[in-house]
């Protein structure tokens, strides 16, 4: 297991380097002349050349890449034109909001997805199974941003049950930042009102974000449960007179969980991408909204920063899933 973990970690370092190579390529090579871009539209040839030397753009690409890596490691991620602050500070401010949203959302997807998958499998081809299938099939086909808009239209504007968007009410004082996770900070500071308010703001975006994940989890869990329920040991358990609940919850679920776990991990990663859309719809001050605003104004450094952070956590999720898989299933360890 130690060897497996070590190998996976080394692989992740390599992948991270690959990711940085991509962001480097996008920001240093794709624009026809980065120096001209940095110098601005009114710059003359002399100014552009000065920028080229100042930013080291006249040196070989390999050297530029090393300088780029060195800067990233020393915490110099550049500056955002949009917010006029260092990108690193912006990411520290915005990323925790994204983490809260995504974690809350995947929790909803798991909490509802697994039971619904079981219910569908146990009642295969009965009406309830068909209802759940319609839910899963439309869930995957729904554009997340449109679902968010329609949820806003109905639950926020028509019914008034939830706020339209944002992280907390304008007038609420944010609690003192300890972990930068608003919900946790509110609890640590004892601001229960803020906690409830923040949670209230999170419901609609989290539900809209969780839909594709919910659908996939239901699907995989249903298929795996069906497969497991056909096994001999389940027939044996049934023959011994165990209750359906015990058979499903104790005997079958454990074996069906392995592929479901993989799907949860995969979908968690996808959510990190999907959150961009939901944050834009709900004006959620997370890293996705930050990246989109930067992308619209071709503000490179924030986009690259956001890409690196999201990519890093995406890889970390995959690593964790692999580790869990490796612990549960020794065959996986051999394959790497």
């Amino acid at each position: 297991m130690i060897r497996f973990t070590f190998k996976r970690l080394m692989l992740m370092v390599l992948m991270l380097l690959g990711l940085l190579a991509i962001t480097f390529t996008i920001s240093h090579i794709v624009p026809a002349d980065p120096a001209a871009l940095a110098a601005g539209p009114d710059a003359n040839v002399e100014m552009i050349e000065r920028y080229r030397v100042e930013y080291g753009l006249d040196r070989p690409l390999a050297e530029q890449f090393l300088v780029y890596l060195g800067k990233l490691l020393s915490g110099d991620w550049g500056k955002s034109i949009h917010t006029t602050r260092p990108v690193w500070d912006d990411l520290v401010t915005y990323f925790p909001n994204t983490v809260e949203l995504v974690v809350f959302s995947i929790a909803i997807a798991v909490l509802f997805g697994i039971p619904l998958g079981i219910v569908a499998a146990v009642n295969q081809n009965r009406p309830i199974d068909h209802v759940i299938r319609v839910l899963t099939v439309t869930g995957v086909a729904m554009p997340m941003f449109w679902l968010g808009l329609m949820a806003q239209l109905f639950f926020a504007l028509k019914l008034g049950w939830f706020p339209l968007g944002g992280r907390i009410e304008m007038m609420t004082d944010p609690p003192q930042a300890i972990t930068h996770l608003l919900l946790v900070d509110a609890l640590l500071n004892g601001h229960f009102g803020t906690f409830v308010d923040a949670l209230h703001h999170m419901v609609l975006p989290a539900v809209a974000l969780c839909f594709p994940a919910l659908a996939s989890i239901i699907r995989v869990n249903r298929a795996e449960m069906l497969e497991t329920l056909k096994q001999d040991y389940i027939v044996n358990a049934r023959a011994q007179g165990l209750s359906t609940f015990r058979i499903v919850a104790v005997y079958a679920l454990r074996n069906a969980m392995l592929p479901t776990m993989a799907m949860i991990g995969l979908r968690f990663g996808w959510m990190l991408g999907g959150t961009v859309l939901i944050e834009t719809v709900f004006d959620w001050p997370g890293i996705g909204l930050y990246a989109v605003q930067a992308a619209i104004s071709s503000d490179f450094e924030p986009i690259m920063g956001a890409t690196i952070v999201l990519g890093f956590f995406f890889m970390l999720t995959n690593l964790l899933i692999d580790m869990i898989y490796g612990t549960l299933d020794p065959r996986v360890r051999e394959q790497v």
Partner: protein, 306 residues
């Protein structure tokens, strides 16, 4: 010996087309029957056909053809759906129905290009990696892994950020994040096929690598590729619409569904029809491709039949 081959040849020629292809016909008939018995697959096929028909001939029959290219009729702006404007009108008085119909053609083009480019890059790379093995495979697969290690939408946004917003750049970006999926799929399939006896047989008869890969291996990879392509059409539509919605893809007044919703959201809740109908069009289309993909998998991959 020569006579024997000649005899066999004459025997084959004397059979008519139907007799020679009897096994293929039987197989196709089985596919058709399995597919037709699957309600959701038929629904998917119906929706996809509806979408394709709309994209093909719809733009010739729309009531207000000028509205698709962004004409202005301020006097009839933001009218609710009625007998003339079935889906209402938008903020400059354009007929939303017209724009949704024309949007179908735009969407089909975008989806075909993204999926097509992804397949053109991904399938050859996957075949090379799977067939050659060794360091070639190692290099290709690691690069693929890197591309798969970032959320696709985020990487697409980064690329569009570098290239500048616009429909062409959005398609380039989405194609660039789409191909790794095909590499993984085709590589795995090629790897499992390349030690089959018929490959050895072909090699022993002196077939070159190119011939083995494209004549003997590729046809056996088609079923998973078809299934994935069908699903990907839906996903590519979602991706392009998402970029359009974020303001990074098609720019208004271009009649792309995502871009329409991006403008329409500022007119919620009172002018709900403006964002409701383009969104519904996306859902129906993507749903169609997904159901079709599921149905195709059921017939092409017996393991998935329930």
């Amino acid at each position: 010996m020569a006579e024997l081959t000649k005899e066999a040849h004459e025997l084959t020629v004397s059979l008519d087309w139907r007799e020679r292809h009897v096994s293929t016909i039987r197989m196709l008939r089985l596919y058709a029957r399995t597919f037709a018995r699957n309600g959701s697959a038929m629904l998917g096929l119906g929706l996809v056909l509806l979408f394709l028909t709309t994209a093909a001939i719809g733009p010739y029959f729309v009531p207000f053809p000028d509205d698709a290219t962004g004409s202005v009729h301020i006097e009839r702006k933001l009218q609710p759906p009625d007998a003339v404007h079935w889906f209402g009108t938008d903020e400059v008085g354009n007929d939303v129905f017209t724009r949704v119909i024309v949007g179908a053609r735009v969407t089909l083009q975008i989806a075909c290009i993204i999926t097509g480019v992804a397949m053109l890059i991904g399938i050859p790379l996957g075949m090379i990696a799977g067939y050659m093995g060794g360091w070639v495979q190692e290099v290709i697969m690691r690069i693929t892994d890197v591309f798969l290690s970032v959320p696709g939408l985020m990487l697409a946004i980064a690329i569009v950020g570098a290239l500048g917003p616009g429909i062409v750049n959005a398609m380039v970006a989405l194609s660039l994040v789409w191909w790794p999926g095909y590499v993984r799929l085709v590589q795995a399939k090629t790897l499992s096929l390349k030690n089959e006896i018929y490959v050895d047989a072909a090699r022993s008869m002196g077939a070159g690598s190119l011939r083995i890969v494209f004549v003997h291996l590729l046809p056996n990879c088609t079923s998973p590729i078809i299934v994935k392509a069908s699903m990907d059409m839906g996903m590519a539509i979602l991706g392009a619409a998402s970029l359009g919605f974020l303001g990074l893809g098609a720019q208004p007044p271009f009649p792309e569904w995502g871009a329409m919703i991006s403008v329409a959201r500022t007119y919620l809740p009172d002018w709900w029809w403006y964002s409701f109908f383009p969104g519904t069009a996306i859902v129906i289309t993507v749903l169609g491709f997904n159901l079709l993909g599921d149905g195709l998998r059921d017939i092409l991959d017996p393991k998935h039949r329930e």
